[in-house]
Amino acid sequence: MFFQFWRKNGVIPMEQNNKNTPSRRFITFKRISIAGLAVLFILFFRYVLVPGFRVDFFPGQLFSDQSDGRIRLEYWEQWTGFEGAAMQKVVDQFNASQNRIRVVKQTISDVNQRFLVAVSGNTPPDISSIYYVSIPSYAEKGALLNLDTLAKEYNIKEEDYLPVFRRMCTYKGHLYALPTTASTLALHYNKKLFREAGLDPEKPPRTLLELDRMAEKLTQYDEHGRIKVMGFSPSEPGWWPQIWGSWFGGDIWDYRETLTVNSEAYIKAMDWAQGYAKKYGVDHLQTFQSGFGNFSSPQNPFLSGLVAMELQGVWMHNFIEKYKPDLEYGVAPFPSAIPGLENVSMVETDILVIPSNAPHPKEAFEFLAFTQRQEILEQLCLDHRKFTPLTRVSPEFWAKHPNKYIRIFYALARSPHAAIYPLLPIFNVINDELGSTYTQIWLLKKNPREALNDLQANLEGEWKKEKAMIEQREKKAR
């Protein structure tokens, strides 16, 4: 039709069509190109415009949910590499264990972001791993499925999990997620540097005072007075500047209503951290730190012996094994700041959630329940080289685990002083603001008390606004 119109109006020269090509062949260049365009158009819609698109080449799966008579579930996972392979193994085991459901795992980068877009666009995955601190924010906005009844139905019992993980997966008394692979933070120290500094490599520091003193002994300078090896720095790796308060008995909030970032405990913690910047010279430390290589490389400052002691997670073992297998290092609970407040650490875990508008919630939970079996979780955590969130652990798990310090990490998760990030819907704001307040303190721009008071005022404003919004929403819902 279009071309007829063009022809009539003289866009395509008449004589060319009339005089030279009188024959009406079925396959013409024009028709081929129209067909080609149509196919491109369809592919564009299928793969580009439809959120949650997938590129695989099994036509059966492409266009139908139940190509093999099974219900197909889409599972979004952020891990790649050996961690991704470990999860794929679990998926394969699940698919082999029954013939009603087929879980298909998709590797999704920046999964929190995509999850948000997909759920609000009503094309959610059936199962997804998200960052656990997003639970309050997403649950508050109605994006997560409440798992209370399904958990009861599938006999998932609270008491099977370490208390800290129950806390992490629950928001306002409701279960929204199930934990998979867990981690904690502990002190990693370089035994060779200990020996060189005349310290006993089997006696890591037990109190912050000891840590400070040992750090002093371990620090080395070059002929210009610049730092060559750093004993310890609260800003290396500096990923969790906001948690030092936990060591001094503080918390970001009181677990009910009030934010408490300017509590005496937090001020003391920041005073202690700032003490390092003052003692070693913030310019010296900054220049020294700016020379560090990439974390995931042999130039990692702990691996290359530039930093003697560091707060790091259970995953550090994997990087040591990969880049510096001959590194002589030890692991111990991070020293305590206050007598009686021992075995403080921060706990994190991967989780699985089901979006509130997922098409097959019950089937999705069946997969979740499968991952929570002790033997499956143990296998997964072994492959991830982390530890399980369960209270019961088989002796084989410990025996087979490649990280010889794994029991220390697990014990820290069991500790009554295990800390987690605040489960508040405004966590991201809190985290960013605490981080930038920390740098201001570290760079000696502000004194801790003043900085934390400003922060408290600022965050209280944010929190008040958020609470007003939640109330408004709840009122409307009623």
Binding site: Y138, K141, S290, I426, N428, K465
Partner: protein, 298 residues
């Protein structure tokens, strides 16, 4: 409108309608939607709640709004004139009749072809306080004077200058535009000026500058828009930077929208940015109106 004209119009519209449709659907609608969202509380998951001008009111009490605005303006005020002067200078040099001119032109244009993210990572190494090549060179000069080279990445006083310095790496694009304009200046005008006894500087001031003024103006307006929206490089290199020193306006919009899920607030921020750019462009146009020479005008 005669019949022929009307037919022409209809024909024209038929040809342009895919584009017009795209503009309405993918530009005009989102722009208007963002105006509406800026008056609401909107977190993507739930329906937006109308709150009037609340978001705009909150802006003025928000310290980060002021920090990011002043960071962005600081960057723009220094980076824009600097890069314009450098680009023009390079273009003039590349316009001289020297041997292997096209080779030089290629060399100066090459860096602007490097993807921004790759560029950012590369410069992180150049700026590295300890092992960076820049400080290696600077130390040779500064250490004998008893000074140490700056910590470009870690010191809040030096992060913005570092970005400005880096920005000069990408002037190749505007150099090409200047070069085209310079080549368009008729040779007979230079000849006439020479006969009148003009030296190189006078010729530049009274012949070259007026004739390339439309291009300078174009680069200036594009520069305003570009520098005020700086995002990718600082986002990759520094994030917020030490003490928020490289926290720019577009990054703040991004964080509010996608990290804190405050779409309404982010839309309000975006509209303020739009107004700012609009005003600056308007001012630039007003000021330069009498100073720009268009050869086509009578």
């Amino acid at each position: 409108m005669t019949r022929g004209e009307r037919q022409n119009l209809i024909k024209g519209l038929r040809f342009t309608f895919p584009w017009i449709l795209g503009l309405l659907l993918f530009v005009l609608y989102p722009v208007l939607a963002s105006l509406y969202y800026s008056l609401t509380n909107f977190n993507v998951f739930l329906k937006p709640v109308f709150i009037g001008l609340e978001n705009y009111k909150n802006l003025f009490e928000d310290t980060l709004f002021w920090t990011t605005t002043s960071n962005t303006l600081f960057y723009a005020i220094i980076a824009l004139p600097l890069s314009m002067v450098c680009a023009l200078g390079i273009a003039i040099l590349l316009n001289q009749p020297v041997k292997m001119r096209s080779v030089f032109r290629t060399i100066f244009f090459l860096p602007s072809l490097v993807p921004l993210v790759a560029l950012a990572i590369l410069w992180l190494w150049i700026f590295n306080g300890q092992y960076g090549i820049l400080n290696f060179a600077l130390r040779k000069i500064l250490l004998p004077l008893g000074l140490d080279a700056p910590n470009w990445i870690g010191d809040p006083r030096f992060t913005k200058p570092a970005l400005i310095l880096m920005g000069l790496w990408g002037v190749g694009g505007s150099v090409v535009i200047y070069l085209a304009a310079l080549q368009d200046v008729p040779a007979h005008l230079y000849e006439a000026a020479e006969i009148d006894g003009a030296g190189a500087l006078v010729k530049f001031r009274h012949v070259t500058l007026p004739l390339i003024s439309p291009v300078i103006y174009f680069n200036f307006v594009m520069g305003i828009i570009g520098t005020l929206q700086i995002f990718a490089v600082p986002y990759v290199m520094f994030q917020r930077g030490p003490a928020n020193s490289t926290y720019f306006y577009s990054m703040y919009i991004y964080d509010n929208a996608f990290k804190y899920l405050k779409m309404g607030y982010a839309s309000a921020l975006a509209w303020i940015m739009f107004l700012l750019i609009f005003l600056l462009t308007l001012v630039a146009t007003r000021i330069s109106r009498s100073r720009i020479y268009y050869g086509g005008e009578q």
